[in-house]
């Protein structure tokens, strides 16, 4: 789960990472009130989960009430690369002396956390890594030991940042690591990490990703989920306990098990079709789960045909067939279905479908045959 800047900064504050004073706002009057409280100049920042806010006009400096009002009104409702701005963060403006970059990331390859620091912040960090790899210093941390002071100092000295801020930057790294571990984050990124004119070190931005699997121990973070940023179908699927990812094609897809569903999308694409979604009905799906999965798939109006690709292990094919029959009774779909059932109780499942004789449901014996058939039907 990706947090918005101000949510990340709330976690920073909780763990002692210095941040400029600021207030979230969802309306123009709220933003103006926040600005008045903070004192000018303030920066009004769009809260969206996408980079490049500044270039898109989503970050503006306001030096008085009129400007605060004008900028807040302009930014709220703005579309930044497909993300609608519903929230603002009003922050006390900082006087910039130097901009660095700091992050704690989860290095999957080394299976360890990795601390990163660069004296070249405020810009696209991948660009820095490409043009001047030496400018980005990295250090793996043993998760059983944690980030020690010497790690922070070593990175700070190695990265060539100004000598007078080595200690506070090292200290900030240690605190960012606290955020990373204690909040179950998989990414904590500060770009830019700011040195102000008075040589104070603050986190001017915050990018935090929290592990969805750990939300059970962070109810406060779980409440931060930004539902407005989620697709309607994805939200509906989540409420029903299904794993659904919306794509932009017209072939609806349901399978059991993440790998098999991914493979099904690929095979449909190879057959010349465009998948409308990824939907994993999960292991051991019962008929009701299948029925609600059909509802989710068909709630996407672009879907012209649906493919069921099931290899039953724990999942029983007769349950899948029952779910589909039930879905036809409840929803009466208008698009054709192609069904491929293999594995546990496949014969029973196919017999149930044959008996029900549902309109416009085609059974296929193989995954490839089913993919070809559904692509043909979606194009018809």
């Amino acid at each position: 789960m990706d947090l918005l800047e101000y949510q990340g900064k709330q976690l920073f504050g909780k763990h002692g990472v210095p941040v400029p004073d600021g207030r979230p706002a969802t309306t123009v009057p709220e933003a103006v009130e926040a600005a008045e409280e903070l004192g000018y100049p303030v920066v009004i920042k769009a809260q969206v989960q996408i980079g490049g806010r500044g270039k898109a006009g989503g970050i503006k400096l306001a030096s008085d009430r009129a400007e605060a009002e004008q900028h807040a009104a302009a930014i709220l409702g703005m579309d930044i690369r497909g993300f609608m701005v519903h929230e603002l963060y009003v922050e006390k403006a900082s006087e910039i002396d130097e901009e660095y970059y700091a992050a704690i990331v989860f290095d999957r390859s080394a299976k360890k956390p990795m601390a990163m620091l660069s004296r070249m912040g405020g810009m696209d960090v991948e660009e820095v890594a490409d043009t001047d790899p030496e400018a980005m210093r990295m250090l793996h941390v043993d998760p059983l030991l944690g980030l020690q002071d010497f790690h922070g100092r070593r990175l700070a000295f190695d990265s060539g940042i100004a000598a007078d801020v080595v200690r506070p930057v090292g200290a900030m790294l240690a605190k960012l690591y606290d955020v990373f571990v204690r909040e179950d984050a998989t990414l904590v990124e500060v770009n830019p990490l700011l040195v102000t004119k008075s040589r104070e070190v603050v986190a001017l931005d915050a990018k935090v990703t929290v592990d969805d699997n750990a939300l059970f121990r962070h109810p406060d973070v779980a409440e931060m989920r930004d539902l407005s940023g989620e697709d309607e179908q994805e939200r509906m699927a989540k409420e029903r306990g299904l794993t659904y990812v919306k794509l932009d094609g017209n072939v609806g897809i349901l399978g059991n098990g993440a790998g098999l569903v991914m493979s099904t999308l690929d095979v449909v694409a190879q057959a010349g079709g465009r998948p409308a979604n990824f939907l994993d009905a999960g292991g051991g799906s019962k008929a009701e789960a299948i029925t609600s999965a059909v509802e989710v798939i068909l709630s996407d109006e672009k879907v012209r045909a649906v493919l069921f690709n099931i290899f039953g292990g724990i999942t029983r094919c007769d349950e899948v067939a029952r779910g589909l029959i039930e879905a036809f009774e409840q929803i009466k779909p208008e698009v054709p279905f192609v069904v491929r059932l293999d594995g546990t109780n496949d014969k029973e499942g196919r017999a149930l479908l044959a008996e029900a004789d549902l309109p416009n449901v085609h059974t296929e014996a193989t995954m490839l045959g089913a993919a070809e058939k559904v692509v043909e039907l979606a194009a018809a």
């Binding site: 059983l144 750990a214 790998g259 991914m262 449909v268």
Partner: protein, 292 residues
């Protein structure tokens, strides 16, 4: 021969008294796996259809000589259970549980690496050595003994590919699910090493998916250290960046972890990559000859 599980496996199941735990433990026993014990704190002294339940792994190991553990407990208790199994001296810990927090997995992985216990999973379907032992939830009825070693990050996709191979007459030495999480206890490389040393295995099929760099790392290892033919399949060519495709570990970040990059890395090292599960079985026929 086979790898990891066989007739010498003495299985202890953590979470045996839960609904799923009971079902699959007994299913494994019915297959012929030697299920010697269960562990559920507070339920020591009970039994599950004749399998004795202990309060701790230590008691189970001491009294039954268990050498392999299967972890079936809910995500919030799983890391603790794995660490307890390791502390009790279990050699192989197979973790089926899905949804364990990444930081728990990081700590477990880095701790286990210092000892001698091997972890397979989490979030995996387990390990099946056809005709010998089944530890986990793989539906054994689709597989028979043979010379193809199969290692995969995904459950049902393994069944699909295994079934395509079976239809062409191939059986398996062992099928290992290493799991779909970002920190798997065992990697493709660990399994390639075991299959390379297993005399029964003549072809290794590895089934990868988007996310991380495990397939790329395996490609380098195969070129240097594997003499047996390796055949690969990668799922997720159509996955868009930034979206988790069902498995916590299956996500393309920026330009990293794409299926195309993985297939390319493998092919660059001479590993043939099937474009769909059916093609994998066709290439297997080319490599090993027709078995039907």
């Amino acid at each position: 021969m086979a790898i990891l599980v066989d007739q010498d496996t003495r299985l202890v199941v953590s979470g045996i008294t839960g609904r799923e735990g009971t079902f699959h433990s007994l299913r494994n026993r019915d297959y012929g796996t030697n299920v010697v014990a269960g562990v559920t704190p507070g339920k020591g002294g009970q039994d599950v259809d004749g399998v004795p339940v202990f309060d701790t792994f230590h008691d189970a190991v001491e009294q039954t000589g268990a050498n392999t553990a299967m972890v079936f407990v809910p995500p919030r208790f799983a890391a603790d259970s794995i660490l307890e199994a390791e502390d009790a001296g279990i050699d192989l810990i197979v973790t089926i549980t899905e949804g364990i927090p990444a930081h728990d997995e990081l700590r477990v992985y880095n701790h286990l690496k210092r000892g001698r216990s091997r972890l397979v999973g989490p979030n995996c379907p387990g390990i099946l050595s056809p005709g010998k032992a089944n530890v986990g939830i793989i539906p054994a009825q689709f597989f028979k003994e043979g010379n193809v070693g199969l290692v995969s990050r995904s459950g049902t996709l393994t069944y699909q590919i295994g079934n395509e191979l079976a239809q062409r007459g191939f059986g398996n030495s062992t099928i290992v699910g290493i799991g779909g999480d970002p920190v798997p206890g065992s990697s493709f490389i660990d399994m390639l090493e075991l299959f390379e040393a297993d005399p029964e295995t003549e072809l290794i099929v590895m089934c990868g998916e988007i996310g991380g760099s495990a397939e790329e790392e395996a490609a380098g290892y195969i070129a240097e250290s594997v003499s047996k033919p390796v055949l690969a399949y990668i799922a997720g060519f159509t996955a868009p960046p930034g979206k988790t495709m069902g498995h916590a570990g299956a996500i393309v970040s920026g330009t990293k972890g794409t299926a195309a990059a993985k297939a390319e890395a493998l092919e660059a090292k001479g590993v043939r990559v099937g474009r769909n599960p059916t093609q994998v079985s066709e290439i297997a026929v080319e490599i090993l000859g027709t078995r039907v």
